[in-house]
């Protein structure tokens, strides 16, 4: 039932038809098309929907529309009181406080509420006022700084860069303004006229056979439904998957479900019809089968096979062997071993999957959030049974990904629905659906052993790790292959033996998540290093520094690091801080009661790009007769900032200022394939392609002008000035003849990082370059209640070259927040924590003070010396926190997250042992 309601939105009365109990967020978005107000959870948990009601912040997703009648509603689209919202917008831009931008409208509205009440609010008031808005990207650091600046009355200015000075500048994101104004379009913000809606009906069982009954009478009973799609309706192959040889996941399950949340049917129709359809109306009979939960169950003798092709449920085995571990252990003065367990971790990007598809003649267009447009194109083509060029993928702004949008989710089924109905079809995953059905971080069981000689020099490392990859392969093989290379950590270890298995189970699929298994392995290895330090009476910093990989050292895979191996510098950068923190904590603990302090440390390394696989990127820059300079950049920006960073690189390579360009980003009809936004590869791999494209165009210009390599370029309308002293000249672009794309001059760059295949022992050059980091953590532990507070983190990261220091810091802050979540609170349990109040991610109040040291040990192979930081940011944090808890309490924790009940148990066990 709807009625006529009048709302006063941003000062203007708006009359519309709405259900009085529909949420205000929905009414604003779907009724008034004010899509600046975002919906991340629809349950009060994320605050993305924050608006002001009579000046006070509320969650619009939980306000019944009728209750807002007659009250003043302010959204991000409104100007706000006394220019406050505008000042916040500018400050957010200048500080890099918006990454993906999905939380930004809610953050700005919450900040406006705080500052309207208390214009001089301090840090504590601001953190309190922003406490209800979740951000998964920024670690809140730059957000709080941005708001504090406004409270202090500072005027924000975003830096600009002149020609040739873009790399290294703290440029504001080039795609930032729509994010702070609420006009950026994420997946759910596209509302094509007359679109049908799609909703999937999902299995409540983790393992079952099913049969569907006659659907015709159901359709007849629900006149708003256009179709009920089942496996039979898939025109092409009903299967997708990351690897060309492992297409094991059905678009719609065909008589068999392997996980809770597997889709069994798709409803297509009006929104009211698909949302109002009671799932119980679907005629389905289930035969529930025993389910295998956890890798141990799937590996047990006689366990049924999930996939016929894999009788033992072991999807992939990874392996690395160097030297002779037995000999290495024998040479050690101390040996430590550990069994470490980690949980499923959810990406918890604030934007649930959303988008739409439409059929255009014999082609299909899918507009949705993604990290991998060309992969989406391939998968949709196969599922529809059409050639690749019949598919266009248009990525929307992506409200966070972290690896979770590296698999297709909505794309194939949207395409099928639009294909068979001929109408545009929309889908918006609910938060629960997103969490129940999409990939997670692999839970790992790791057993590892490590030895060191009397001086603390590592002599051997070995590990065996089982990674629960869930019901479908997804990125399981990548995890199984990446971990053996990285598991010993960024240290010189002569004897290494690592074995991994990715195991199918009836759990939610585990796939790519910031670090591809390396964070789990690092937890185990860094625990062992603390053990060895303790056993040998060495300081925890010293043992790491003594073994740190340096220029000229050889890795466990036999790769010699010729350059850009800055771990020693990272460790040196935080030495004083760590030793001071360690001493302070020990002094404090001598007199303290229940609260104990601790300092911890951990290191990491991470190979940029895919493991021993070709992963090329191509970038293009074109100049038109009218002087329009366009950067065709196929790399999707999921908030990490590639749109800005790649432009900075391209601009300096060409020799024009970044604001001379316009960018076309990630549309498969318009941009060349840049590969996936994954594996911390875009700055390094696509950055090189962008550099080559810039250099290519520059070469073309210089040769046309007959100018020397030092010539300076200036673009004024259609006139391109090539300034080279006396030989300067002006190219009138209108006089040049355009090519088939309309460009008069263009440059293209392609780059594929040099790697080699790994041999049977995992030896070779799996990555062209590695990021390195050391982090020190300080914690306070309430030993009576079992609660932990991280008070400070010092992070030193070797990034080769910080192309945009603001964005690099933003990656590190955000990674630290995710690492803190991994260490202390995040545990996804299928069927039990499929929302953002049972699954907790860090809030602003959980964040420590963070100090970042950017170390720049240039990578000769990288663009302007740069390498990736996206994943490295997260890896060292959790082990550093565990190291600090151990320092504070003596409790050696071997299972994350360290929730109060686990710490409680560990402290109890310690007391009992004493």
């Amino acid at each position: 039932m709807t009625r006529t309601l009048t709302l006063i939105v941003n000062g203007e009365p708006r009359t519309l038809q709405a259900a009085p109990f529909a949420s205000l967020a929905d009414t604003l978005r779907e009724g008034l098309h004010l899509t600046g107000t975002k919906v991340g959870c629809d349950a009060g948990d994320c605050g993305a929907c924050t608006v002001l009601l009579d000046g006070e912040q509320v969650c619009a997703c939980l306000v019944p529309t009728a209750q807002a009648e007659g009250r003043a509603i302010t959204t991000i689209e409104g100007a706000g009181p006394a220019g406050l919202v505008d000042r916040l917008r500018e400050s957010f831009l200048a500080h890099g406080a918006a990454q993906c931008g999905i939380c930004t409208p809610g953050m700005i509205m919450a900040a406006a509420d705080v500052l309207a009440r208390d214009p001089r609010a301090g840090r504590a008031e601001i953190e309190d006022g922003l406490g209800g808005v979740l951000c998964r990207c920024t670690g809140y650091v730059k957000i709080v700084e941005a708001v504090l600046d406004v409270a202090r009355g500072a005027n924000a200015f975003a830096a600009k860069a002149d020609a040739g000075a873009a790399v290294g500048a703290r440029l504001a994101r080039v795609d930032g303004r729509p994010k702070v104004e609420g006009t950026d379009h994420f997946g759910a913000d596209h509302q094509p006229e007359g679109a049908l809606w799609l909703r999937l009906i999902r299995s409540p069982h983790a393992s079952a056979r099913f049969a569907l009954g006659d659907l015709a009478p159901v359709l007849a009973r629900h006149p708003g439904l256009a179709r009920i799609l089942t496996a039979r309706d898939i025109p092409g192959e009903n299967a997708f998957g990351i690897f060309p040889t492992i297409k094991d996941q059905p678009v719609l399950a065909d008589g068999l479900v392997r996980m809770r949340g597997d889709p069994v049917a798709a409803l297509v129709g009006t929104r009211a019809a698909v949302e109002g359809f009671p799932d119980a109306d679907l005629p389905i009979t289930w035969e529930v089968l025993p389910a295998l939960h956890g890798a141990a169950a799937a590996l047990a003798e006689g366990a049924p096979a999930l996939h016929r092709a894999v009788p033992d449920n072991v999807l992939t085995r990874g392996r690395l062997e160097r030297g002779d571990v037995a000999e290495g252990h024998a040479a050690g003065a101390a040996t430590a071993s550990v069994a470490f367990e980690t949980a499923f971790v959810e990406h918890a990007y604030i934007e649930p999957e959303a988008g739409y598809a439409r059929r255009v003649g014999d082609r299909i267009e899918v507009t949705a959030c993604t990290q991998a447009p060309v992969m989406d194109q391939e998968e949709v083509a196969r599922v529809l049974g059409v050639p690749m060029h019949a598919v266009r993928i248009v990525p929307t702004a992506c409200g966070g990904g972290f690896g979770g949008k590296l698999d297709v989710s909505i794309q194939p089924i949207l395409a099928v629905a639009a294909w068979v109905t001929g109408q545009p079809v929309r889908i918006v995953y609910s938060r629960i659906e997103s969490m129940a059905s999409t990939t997670k971080r692999h839970p790992a069981s790791i057993r590892a052993r490590m030895s060191a000689d009397g001086d603390g020099r590592f002599t051997a490392f070995e590990m065996e790790g089982d990674f629960n990859t869930g019901a479908y392969a997804s990125w399981g093989p990548t995890v199984a292959n990446r971990v053996p290379v990285h598991a010993p950590g960024p240290y010189r270890v002569p004897h290494v033996r690592n074995r991994t298995r990715a195991v199918y189970t009836n759990d939610t699929p585990a796939g790519a998540f910031r670090g591809f298994g390396v964070p789990q392995a690092t937890l185990a290895a860094e625990t062992l290093i603390d053990d060895l330090a303790e056993g040998l009476g060495l300081d925890r910093w010293t043992i790491r520094r003594r073994n740190a990989l340096d220029h000229g050292d050889t890795t466990a895979s036999g790769q010699v690091l010729h350059a850009s191996a800055g771990l020693p510098q990272c460790l040196d950068a935080l030495r004083d801080d760590f030793l001071r923190a360690q001493a302070d904590a020990e002094a404090f603990n001598r007199t303290s009661g229940r609260v104990k302090r601790g300092a911890g440390i951990a290191c990491m390394w991470y190979g940029c790009g895919n493991t021993s696989m070709s992963n090329p990127s191509t970038m293009r820059i074109a100049l038109r007769p009218d002087g329009t300079l366009t950067f065709f950049n196929g790399a999707v920006d999921i908030g990490q900032g590639s749109t800005t960073v790649l432009l900075q690189i391209a601009a300096d390579a060409l020799g024009l200022a970044p604001d001379a360009f316009e960018s076309v980003v990630g549309d498969t009809d318009l941009t060349p394939d840049a590969g996936k936004t994954s594996a911390s590869r875009q700055t390094f791999v696509s950055g090189n392609a962008a550099r080559l494209a810039g250099e290519d165009l520059r070469r073309a210009i210089l040769s046309l002008a007959n100018a020397g390599p030092d010539a300076r370029l200036r673009l004024e309308g259609a006139c391109l000035h090539v300034e080279n002293g006396p030989a300067s000249r002006v190219i009138d672009l209108t006089t040049l003849s355009p090519d088939e794309t309309g460009a008069v001059l263009s440059g293209e760059g392609r780059y594929d990082p040099p790697t080699t295949a790994l041999d049977a022992n995992g030896q070779g050059v799996p990555y062209a370059t590695y990021g390195f980091a050391a982090q020190a953590a300080e914690v306070e532990v309430d030993t009576v209640l079992g609660t932990v507070r991280v008070t400070r983190i010092v992070a030193a990261h070797d990034v080769g070259r910080a192309v945009n220091p603001t964005l690099v810091e933003g990656q590190i802050h955000g990674g630290i927040a995710q690492g803190l979540g991994l260490a202390l609170m995040e545990e996804f349990i299928p069927g039990r924590t499929e929302n953002l109040h049972d699954y907790l991610i860090p809030t602003v109040g959980d964040m420590p003070e963070i100090v970042v040291h950017l170390i720049e040990d240039p990578e000769p192979e990288g663009p302007f010396g740069a390498k990736g930081v996206g994943e490295p940011a997260l890896v060292a944090t959790a082990p550093a926190i565990l190291s600090a808890i151990r320092h504070a309490t003596g409790a050696r924790l071997t299972r994350v997250p360290v929730l109060p009940h686990r710490l409680h148990a560990a402290l109890h066990a310690r007391e009992a042992a004493e």
Binding site: M1, R3, A19, P20, F21, S23, D42, A43, G44, G47, T50, L53, E56, Q57, V58, C59, L62, V63, P64, A66, Q67, A110, D113, A124, E127, D128, G129, G131, G132, V133, P204, E275, G276, R594, V595, E780, D782, V784, L785, G786, T787, R789, L824, G831, R832, E834, N835, H837, D838, L840, I841, P842, T843, V844, G845, D846, L899, P900, H901, H904
Partner: protein
């Protein structure tokens, strides 16, 4: 969401009449009800929006020195009401330790007391839940239940009540004013919520159509203002539901405890008043030993309902800690992280 009717009565009597019709539910701010309707857990056929009934949103000081809080007073307005917070600091601290600013700006006094459990199986309509569907069984019993009840539970239901607000109210003998078609009645808050027994679907003593109009605290409750704290253990700092919480209040004269008030949150399907512990504290001198004894008494009847034995020990520790904090005196200003074990650490004045 299912289809239904929506009415907006303009007086208490109209609301009570409308609320008595079968299938009706009162809608206050909707922060809990709307969420439950979206998930198909609550399926009212008629919403009676009481949000605009005049006269229910006042905080009044009573002639005897007590306070009367209208059912529609927002949680934030109550917590930031200076006079109220000065006299009932433990209630303000509990309110501010709960939810987020957005939710506290909307949530009402009546709605907070009537928010439903956060048991995940109650929320998941694919799971069996006696509360949602009487007789269906309880999937929490053999499920993930480390957050479930350790006191007052039954085999039919082991859920907990999630309200922070209700805990200090129970400790301070708040009285709920209820209006029904038969007129007005009053129920002590400690008798308002029901333990699950065999009928976990019946959560309070409210009869269909009965409306909470106010909650009252007496002058006697204000006498504890000098030594009253709320302590909440949760799994993250900004908004999370309590693992275990305690409201502890003392009246101390000449180094002796004259009277004590103690209630626990997160341990049972109702805010759990610990009267034996209070009795033991009366007359004792405040300190480690008396607090430990009180904590032991409060949990004497506790037993795990699953993988949650740790909660019993944790609850004892939370009680001892909350009593210690209360004995140290209520801080002049609420700490930056209300109810947090860390906020209440070192100095309470920073």
């Amino acid at each position: 969401m299912n289809r239904f009717d929506y009415v907006r009565p303009s007086s208490v009597s109209e609301a009570v009449a409308a609320g008595a019709e079968p299938g009706s539910a009162f809608l206050a701010a909707g922060t809990n009800l709307l969420d439950l309707m979206k998930g198909g857990i609550a399926r009212p056929t008629r919403l009676v929006d009481v949000g605009r009934i005049p006269g229910l949103d006042a905080i009044e000081t009573l002639p005897d020195g007590g306070v009367r809080i209208g059912a529609l007073v927002r949680n934030a307005d109550l917590a930031y009401h200076q006079e109220f917070a000065r006299r009932f600091p433990m209630v303000a601290e509990a309110l501010l330790s709960g939810a987020s600013a957005q939710l506290r700006n909307a949530a009402t006094t009546g709605g907070n007391l009537l928010q439903r459990t956060r048991c995940p199986y109650f929320y998941d309509t694919a799971s069996a839940c006696n509360k949602r569907e009487p007789g269906a069984g309880c999937d929490a019993l053999a499920g993930e239940n480390r957050q479930h009840a350790v006191l007052g539970w039954s085999e039919a239901c082991i859920a907990t009540n999630p309200s922070d607000f209700a805990v200090p109210l129970a400790a301070l003998d708040a009285v709920v004013e209820i209006e029904g078609r038969g007129g007005r009645r009053e129920v002590p808050l400690t008798d308002f919520h029901r333990l699950p027994g065999d009928t976990p679907q019946i959560e309070t003593v409210l009869a269909p159509g009965e409306l909470i109009v106010a909650v009252r605290l007496s002058a006697d409750a204000a006498a504890f203002a000098g030594h009253a704290r709320y302590l909440k253990v949760r799994e993250r700092t900004s908004y999370a539901f309590a693992v275990v919480s305690a409201a502890a209040a003392l009246r101390i004269a000449d180094g002796r405890i004259e009277a004590a008030r103690l209630a626990l949150g997160g341990v049972a399907l109702k805010p759990w008043r610990a009267r034996e512990a209070e009795a033991a504290l009366a007359g004792a001198s405040p300190g480690f030993e008396s607090f430990q004894e009180a904590a032991a008494l409060a949990l004497a009847e506790a037993r795990p309902s699953g993988d949650n034995a740790y909660k019993i020990e944790l609850a004892r520790r939370v009680i001892a800690r909350a009593l210690t904090l209360a004995a140290a005196g209520t801080p002049e200003r609420l700490p930056a992280l209300p109810g947090s074990p860390f906020a209440s650490g070192g100095s309470l004045h920073d």
